[in-house]
């Protein structure tokens, strides 16, 4: 018998602080698998967000930097411009990329920086206790929308990927999800494409991953995956956007 599945080398062998059923654990592993498969561990420089994944750098076995909340793409821009031989990626949540960091996101995309962006969309701010995110759905109850998000008061779920797709500097955007093992594999393929694009000098590549937050959605882990499949994908359609 052969071992056909095990922990990738680029993922450190330790417990994470993420909640049971959280999508971060899955995507951290997918990134590590892709890094192993592309043989780029010694070239990678990751930029961690502020959010639940603020200590992502404790879980990967390659060079990492923090960034102030929202600023990861500014930090990444400088790093990649100065060291184009390194593979530079940011890992950001919906607040980091599409609220406080919107300006940095749009301008890095518009400049066509040759970067890989992994965008974890779980429609809520997990780390701080489940507040509304730009991507929170209408009617979704959160700590700051106790009656459910209302368009007239809080606006609509933000489709940052569709917005970025308008920009000439953006070369690849795909939205995937984690609602089943098959979807997880699709996410891995998209992540691999986004890294390969950077290796091939193609330009700004972003993967938006619809990810579960069972605790703040107040669901079991399985219910959370079902909610992504049945509800979230209606608002955030899966597939290649650019």
């Amino acid at each position: 018998m052969k071992k056909i599945f095990s922990r990738p080398k680029a993922l450190r062998n330790q417990s994470t602080h993420y909640c049971p059923g959280c999508g971060h654990g899955i995507v951290h592993r997918l990134i590590a698998e892709v890094v192993d498969e592309l043989g780029i561990r010694e070239k990678v420089i990751a930029i961690a967000p502020v959010g639940c994944a603020v200590i992502a750098y404790d879980y990967w076995d390659f060079d990492c930097s923090e960034a102030a909340h929202g600023r990861a793409l500014a930090v990444a821009t400088a790093i990649k411009r100065l060291r184009p031989e390194n593979i530079v990626f940011t890992y950001q949540g919906d607040g980091d990329l599409a609220a406080i960091g919107t300006n940095e996101t749009i301008h890095a995309a518009n400049r066509g920086e040759n970067l890989t962006v992994i965008f974890i969309n779980n429609a809520v701010y997990g780390m701080t206790g489940g507040q509304m995110a730009p991507t929170t759905l209408l009617g979704q109850k959160t700590a700051t929308t106790p009656k459910g998000r209302e368009a007239q008061v809080q606006g609509w779920p933000l489709k940052i990927s569709e917005m970025l797709a308008q920009l000439a500097g953006v070369k690849y955007i795909e939205r995937t999800s984690l609602y089943s093992p098959q979807e997880v594999l699709k996410t891995k393929r998209a992540i691999k494409q986004a890294f390969q694009n950077q290796i091939d000098n193609m330009g700004f590549s972003l993967v938006e991953v619809l990810s579960p937050c069972p605790i703040y959605w107040e669901m079991s882990p399985k219910e959370a995956l079902d909610w992504i499949r049945e509800v979230m994908t209606k608002e955030f359609p899966l597939g290649r956007i650019k």
Binding site: E42, V54, D63, E66, T77, A78, I79, L82, I106
Partner: protein
């Protein structure tokens, strides 16, 4: 080393000085009165193979500097007062992650949008660490176009040596005036800089590096803070810099920095021509503040008065009062909001004190 003499603005002298000191990354955003600096960098930085980025905002620029510094490159940004306010978050992060960087503030009138004339109203912001947390940046204040150029080598070297942000505090007058500058023609080798084993370069042949300022484990952040405090005490001992003139027998000692010190010198010249015993202390490093000279002076000479002169309503004044500690009177003369204390104003004030 060949040198030449050119006529140039203070802003451009700062930029060229940075290039000569090995700065190979600049990110900035236009704001008056430092636009000459970013304009000069746009043309000059690519000539030496560095990276120039006009960022989308001052906030993005300081974070780009964070990234550049994290990979071990000498990096700089510049702005003027309102834009420096935007950078405070980033400077706090640089301090916490112990990343070297140079930030140039060409001060203008405030608060708020203010105006575009010179001021020295950001002394508190620079020396009290305008961002959050217990940290310090080195603060250097040149007073001429030549000094603005020369001081950049010091700023980058000290920033790298101590792993600390360095703020260059000039004002709109110094930034935009033109004076002769003796410039070194030869570009020094940036590789002669200090090695940075902590930098992010890809983890080939070593364990991965992490650049961060976040320490959630018990005692972790306190440990960082104690190390920072130790570093700051060392800097306070070793890096005080000032110019002193005519201190022996001085009855009144003027204390001024930057452009204000030049105006003070002109006033002193007139007063001394009339036989008045007036001296000058011109701090060149504002942090660490030159406490040594004040202590020496006030222990030896009990019979003197200090007159602090600023383009503000009394910011450096507080540091002078703190170190003098009541041993001698400390008076103040200042104007801000774009107004500049004049020679005549200073002379009048000094005569009142004598």
């Amino acid at each position: 080393m060949m040198s030449k003499k050119i006529l140039i603005t203070g802003n451009e002298a700062v930029a060229e000085g940075a290039i000569q000191a090995g700065c190979r990354f600049y990110a900035g955003y236009p704001i008056t009165p430092q636009n000459e600096l970013i304009g000069y960098m746009a043309g000059r930085m690519p000539e030496v193979g560095g990276i120039f980025i006009q960022a989308e905002a001052e906030l993005a620029a300081i974070n780009m500097v964070f990234g550049a510094s994290a990979v071990g490159v000498r990096a700089m940004t510049s702005s003027s007062s309102p834009g420096i306010s935007l950078k405070q978050e980033g400077i706090s992060y640089l301090a916490g992650a112990e990343l070297p960087a140079v930030i140039v503030n060409v001060m203008r009138g405030g608060p708020g949008l203010g105006n575009i004339w010179p001021a020295q109203s950001d002394y508190f912001q620079a020396t009290r660490s305008g961002g959050h947390g217990d940290y310090h940046s080195l603060v250097l204040a040149p007073a001429s176009v030549q000094e603005s150029y020369d001081i950049m080598q010091l700023a980058f070297d000290l920033a790298d040596q101590y792993r600390i942000p360095a703020i260059i505090l000039i004002d709109g007058m110094l930034g935009q005036m033109m004076e002769p500058l003796v410039i070194k023609s030869q570009i020094p080798n940036p590789k002669s800089q200090i090695k940075k084993p902590w930098a992010l370069t890809g983890c080939r042949g070593r364990k991965p590096n992490i650049v961060k300022s976040f320490f959630m484990q018990q005692g972790g952040l306190e440990k960082l803070n104690l190390a920072l405090q130790k570093k700051y005490r060392l800097i306070q001992q070793k890096e005080q810099r000032w110019e002193e003139m005519f201190l022996d027998e001085a009855k009144v000692v003027l204390v001024a920095y930057g452009t204000m010190a030049r105006i003070a010198k002109a006033a002193i010249k007139q007063l001394r021509a009339k036989g008045k015993k007036i001296g000058l202390i011109r701090p060149i490093a504002l942090w660490p503040f030159p406490t040594n000279i004040f202590r020496r002076l006030t222990t030896a000479h009990k019979q003197l008065k200090f007159l602090v002169i600023e383009m503000s309503y009394g910011q450096m004044l507080e540091d002078v009062k703190l170190v003098v500690n009541g041993r001698c009177p400390v008076e103040f003369f200042g104007r801000a909001g774009g107004g500049v204390p004049t020679e005549q104003g200073i002379i009048k004030k000094v005569k009142n004190l004598l």
